[in-house]
């Protein structure tokens, strides 16, 4: 057992699990109690995430808040939690999206208790994955966060929900089927004594050939979750089918798990494999950027547009990871954070609009800015973030990634930057069709988002602007990890 100070990370997990248990014991019919319990526990989780973020010592860097306990000593499995500059933004992101997601679903009235129970389970898995440093636990958390998606989408979803849920689950299981052999392979190659990433990370643990093989498996396995082209088609379908809060977690956090897994497991353990496959990663990422934007151009469903824009934006993350530079890593992790908040805001805004108008089809909307200026404002803010307007969070991530990419892969960099035009084109097209123009007569009686319901969107919008104006808050944290990481490369 080794704990340094108050175990914040375990406290975060416990807060989720306790919330889950308490929800299960609240009587079914008492819906508002369920919601309040969820809000309290997710708020507590958010507070703990913020505390961890603030208490992290950037001057010292490295792994902090280490919590280690033997779990199954004979198999070398440890309960090992810690955060570093890569996982810290992700923990904060998860906390924010979790809390705002609970608040966004405040008007839910169909099987409320079950919804929140599954939702808490999902988020527990996500938190565990971001904090864990034990391969075995990473795999377990991956599956914990994966399986609640099926009921969440199939029961509370919309638009071909069974199809979407099934597709998503199958895709992600396929990913996990690639990750598991890779993990076992690495475990065995290292002598079969431990799953501890910090121990396995030591240079010279794996031969170059092993690294190449394992990295490819891990890249594809986690890459499916990060919607890497051409394994992306589950993600727009899943986004569209999922209920609002699940879309938020799904696009905001779950897709980051993929990229984070590539970074934490693949790149940390198999640096030589990473270097070997980096050109492939870059190519695929650039294709994803341009391709996602092009497909988004011809979508008519608001959520599909956002779904494909996510494919495009996750391509930017992939491009950053493939550059093997500090700036690229910084930019990629920052972009993961920014994209998470941005898509959460997107889906939160769409959720409100859908709830009122009962449609997500762009041609049926129109003129919403006049009817619900605030709700439209949130969507437009998110759209501008997606377009890469400076002083909104996403800009800095893209800037850093493009700088790094242009240095390493000039041609790919040119194409990726060219994708900016496309993203401006499809986002503004949606904004114009759905929010501008004369108001639709069918919707003129609708009300704008109230202050109370607007709280989650306000939080997300504020985070976007805060990190857009002061990106160094986040960059300083990420930098501690990425500089050490690049320095440690063979």
């Amino acid at each position: 057992m080794e704990f340094t100070g108050f175990p914040y990370l375990t406290a975060i997990l416990l807060s989720c699990v306790t919330g889950l248990l308490v929800i299960l014991f609240v009587p079914d019919e008492n819906r508002s109690a369920v919601k309040w319990v969820s809000a309290v526990f997710s708020g507590l989780t958010l507070a703990l995430s913020i505390a961890v973020f603030l208490l992290y010592d950037t001057a010292r860097g490295g792994l902090q808040f280490v919590e280690r306990a033997a779990w199954v000593p004979s198999l070398g499995i440890h309960y090992l939690n810690a955060v570093d500059g890569f996982s810290l933004p992700m923990v904060l992101l998860t906390g924010i999206v979790f809390f705002t997601g609970v608040l966004t679903m405040w008007e839910l009235d169909h099987r409320v208790k079950e919804f929140y129970a599954f939702y808490f389970l999902l988020v527990t898995g996500v938190f565990g994955l971001f904090m864990s440093l034990d391969l075995f636990f990473i795999f377990i958390w991956y599956d914990v966060s994966l399986f609640p998606m099926y009921p969440l989408i199939a029961i509370w979803g919309s638009t071909r929900k069974e199809y979407g849920a099934m597709k998503l689950t199958l895709y992600l299981l396929a990913g996990s089927a690639l990750i598991l052999p890779a993990i076992i392979f690495l475990h065995v190659q290292a002598g079969g004594t431990t799953y501890d990433i910090t121990a396995l990370m030591q240079p010279g643990t794996f031969s170059a050939a092993d690294q190449k093989l394992a990295f490819l498996l891990l890249y594809i396995g986690f890459g499916i979750l990060a919607a890497v082209w051409p394994f992306h088609t589950w993600s727009p379908v899943g986004h569209v089918a999922a209920p609002t809060a699940v879309s938020m977690v799904h696009a905001g956090v779950l897709m980051k798990i993929g990229a984070f897994g590539v970074l934490r497991v693949g790149m940390s353990l198999c640096p030589e494999g990473w270097q070997f496959w980096a050109p492939l990663m870059a190519t695929v990422a650039v294709i994803g950027i341009v391709y996602g934007a092009l497909v988004a151009l011809s979508q008519t469903d608001l959520k599909f547009v956002v779904g494909y824009s996510s494919v495009s934006h996750m391509g930017i993350v992939g491009l950053g990871l493939s550059t093997l530079t500090v700036d690229g890593l910084n930019g990629a992790v920052f972009q993961m954070f920014a994209h998470g908040i941005m898509t959460a805001l997107f889906f939160s805004a769409i959720g409100y609009i859908y709830e009122r108008t009962h449609t997500k089809m762009i041609p049926e909307l129109g003129g919403l800015s006049r009817i619900m200026p605030v709700a439209s404002g949130y969507f437009i803010l998110a759209a501008l973030t997606a377009v890469g307007v400076p002083c909104l969070a996403s800009f800095w991530g893209e800037l850093m990634v493009f700088i790094a990419a242009f240095r390493v892969y000039p041609i790919g960099g040119v194409f990726a930057v060219g994708g900016l035009v496309l993203s401006a084109l499809f986002m503004l097209r949606v904004v114009q069709r759905a929010f501008y123009g004369p108001p639709n007569d069918k919707f003129v009686h609708l009300t704008d988002v109230s202050f109370r319901l607007g709280i989650p969107r306000m939080i997300l919008a504020a985070v976007i602007v805060l990190f857009g104006l002061l990106p160094s808050i986040l960059f300083d944290v990420i930098d501690t990890a990425s500089v050490a990481f690049i320095k440690g490369l063979p």
Partner: protein, 629 residues
């Protein structure tokens, strides 16, 4: 900011000039949305303080020789760090003063023009956003900061063009403006990356200094051309010029401020900012000169046939920006910058005067305005004539001085083609300007049916006085500015140490230019002004030419075709198809194959308990045989 002590008034004034509008923007958007008067007050206060600070800086640093720079680290990264700060030198001071002054005048004018609009607060918020972005762009010490605010002025432009978003054409124009300038910006951004990769930083002073000598000529040329791509987008030069006429869908004060005087001039400002860098590459300068010339000429031809009063000024803006770029590309720094300054004054004046007419008569059509008695509005009419004279380069108005300088610079070039093009441009400019003036001043009585009104902007009467004062001030400036030519030139050239080599004096040039202007004016008078004139221009008599000019040389059609057919039909459709048919088809196909395989396998399962029993017994028997025999 680097701590220089709070007594550093320069820094304080610069911060006040650049940061206050942002405060106004945030406060209006968050708190005072429902209180229009308070919002306007906040915005006006902020920009007034900015102007005062700009004036203070200009006075304090008149005659400044060495640039003053303040910078703070905003973002530290691995290979790149982002610095923000303030760079004060003659160019940025002049531009800052121009920006702040025109912002203030336009905002005052808007009090009358926008009165009663439901989006009044929003309007002032966006105006403040623009003022913030533009002042910071002006004072940027690094190209990266310049790029950031360059994008933000683009955002402000998008929001303000589409301000009346319920009108389809307005939101369409906003989108078009954003996307087209984005195309240029991508080139600009790539140029930045190229320079960053080869030079290591994006400091403007370093780029203009000796450091650029370290770059290979190819890189300099490529970088300069890519950056010029951004200029083409922002300043609406050929071939990205068609967004600017459409941008006139925004409220007229917005057109005056963003789409003529300041924001579109940011492209030219960037050119001037990097003038020494551009000078390193004769190839790049040649391309710039060609692009400027082409833009100037074809925009003038478009202006000759348009009847929409704002469109005419929009084309004229493109053409004048082209002229500035020609001046700079011809190697005359002062000429370009000085024309930028005078143009800002008289073009803003032209738009604001037109705004009064549009406000009064609810029409953008010059014929309708003339017929309904445009000349009865004395102040705007007089100001319009003054501004038109300045635009046409008629002495003693300011345009004369700046234009002569540019023409002089063109005449210095070995190839006489350029000066010929410049003179032709001057002729066309005078022609279309006075065509407009004569149509409004001397409306043809009754006659043909001309009630074709171009979707007028809605507005409310009143506020005439508050709109008139900015006109008078601008008119005075337009007249006076020309006489400050020598002082401004001296001021601008201070940092370069020596004065530019005295240009060869072309005694014939002013006569030629004036003669052409006079000829153009006579032609315009003959066709539009004299009693009983047909009010049909010589271009309009030639149908194909008329169609060509009226359709903007079919540039828009080409873009539309490209977008609809190539991007949407071909690429987008193709990728979406690929997604559905090939990728999803493969995955679903895999699922179907597995399901079908399961179906095949299920034949083995007859479902009868006893068959299974038989299978069990047979297999046991076989195992027994295998083990025992």
């Amino acid at each position: 900011m680097i701590a220089v002590g709070s007594t550093d008034t320069t820094l304080l004034a610069a911060i006040a000039a650049t940061k206050l509008p942002f405060v106004a923007f945030a406060v209006i958007l968050l708190l005072t949305r429902r209180r229009p008067r308070l919002s306007a007050g906040l915005s006006l206060t902020a920009i007034a303080v900015s102007l005062a600070s700009a004036g203070f800086l200009l006075v304090k640093h008149w005659g400044i020789a060495r640039p003053i720079e303040y910078a703070a680290l905003w973002l530290a990264g691995g290979d790149v760090s982002v610095r923000v700060g303030i760079l004060i030198d003659p160019l940025s001071l002049i531009m800052l003063a121009v920006v702040a002054a025109i912002c203030l005048l336009v905002q005052v004018y808007s009090l009358g023009y926008m009165a009663g609009d439901p989006g009044f607060s929003r309007y002032y918020a966006f105006m403040s956003l623009f003022a913030w972005a533009m002042t910071n762009l002006t004072l940027a010490p690094t190209l990266l900061q310049l790029y950031i605010f360059w994008e933000l002025v683009g955002l402000a432009s998008y929001l303000l063009i589409g301000f009346w978003y319920e009108k389809f054409s307005a939101s369409e124009a906003g989108k078009k403006a954003f996307v087209m300038t984005r195309c240029g910006d991508v080139a600009f951004f790539l140029g930045l990356l190229l320079i960053l990769v080869h030079l290591g930083n994006l400091d403007i002073r370093e780029l203009n200094g000796a450091a650029a000598g370290r770059l290979s000529p190819t890189v300099v040329t490529a970088g300069a051309l890519l950056i010029f791509g951004g200029i083409i987008g922002k300043s609406a030069q050929f071939p990205l010029l068609t967004w600017l006429p459409d941008a006139m869908e925004g409220p007229t004060p917005v057109s005056a401020l963003l789409h003529s005087a300041t924001m579109v001039a940011a492209g030219v400002y960037l050119f001037a900012r990097l003038f020494p860098f551009f000078s390193l590459s004769p190839t790049a300068l040649g391309v710039c000169l060609a692009v400027g010339t082409v833009s100037m000429l074809i925009a003038s031809t478009m202006a000759m046939v348009s009847r929409d009063i704002k469109q005419v000024w929009a084309y004229s803006t493109i053409s004048q920006l082209g002229l500035m770029i020609m001046g700079l590309a011809a190697g005359n720094y002062v000429a370009g910058v000085f024309h930028l300054t005078t143009h800002a004054a008289f073009k803003a004046l032209l738009f604001l005067c037109s705004g009064v007419f549009i406000h009064a008569f609810h029409s953008n059509d010059m014929v309708v305005i003339g017929r309904q008695g445009g000349r009865r509005l004395r102040v705007p009419m007089a100001c319009l004539v003054i501004a038109a004279a300045a635009l046409s380069g008629i002495p003693p108005f300011s345009g004369y001085f700046s234009k002569e300088r540019i023409l002089g610079a063109l005449a210095d070039l070995p190839n006489p083609l350029w000066v010929a093009a410049g003179l032709l441009g001057a002729f066309l400019t005078t022609y279309y300007t006075f065509r407009l003036i004569f149509i409004i001043l001397f409306p043809a009585p009754g006659g043909e049916d001309t009630a074709q009104s171009h979707g007028s902007e809605h507005g409310h009467h009143g506020g005439y006085a508050v709109m008139a004062w900015p006109l008078v001030i601008l008119a005075a400036v337009s007249v006076a500015l020309g006489f400050g030519e020598k002082a401004v030139a001296q001021f601008l050239l201070n940092p370069f140490g020596s004065v530019t080599p005295a240009a060869a004096h072309h005694a014939w040039l002013p006569y030629a230019a004036l003669g052409l202007s006079a000829a153009a004016m006579l032609l315009a008078w003959f066709e539009f002004g004299r009693r009983g004139a047909g009010q049909i221009g010589f271009v309009e008599r030639v149908a194909p030419l008329h169609a060509l000019f009226g359709e903007r040389w079919y540039i828009d059609r080409a873009y539309r075709w490209l977008l609809d057919q190539v991007v949407y039909r071909l690429f987008s459709r193709l990728c979406a198809r690929n997604d559905q048919k090939i990728i999803d088809g493969a995955v679903d196909g895999l699922g179907r194959v597995i399901a079908a395989g399961g179906g095949r396998m299920s034949i083995l399962h007859t479902g009868m308990v006893q068959y299974r029993l038989i299978v069990v017994f047979v297999s046991i028997a076989l195992m027994a045989i295998y083990f025992f025999i």
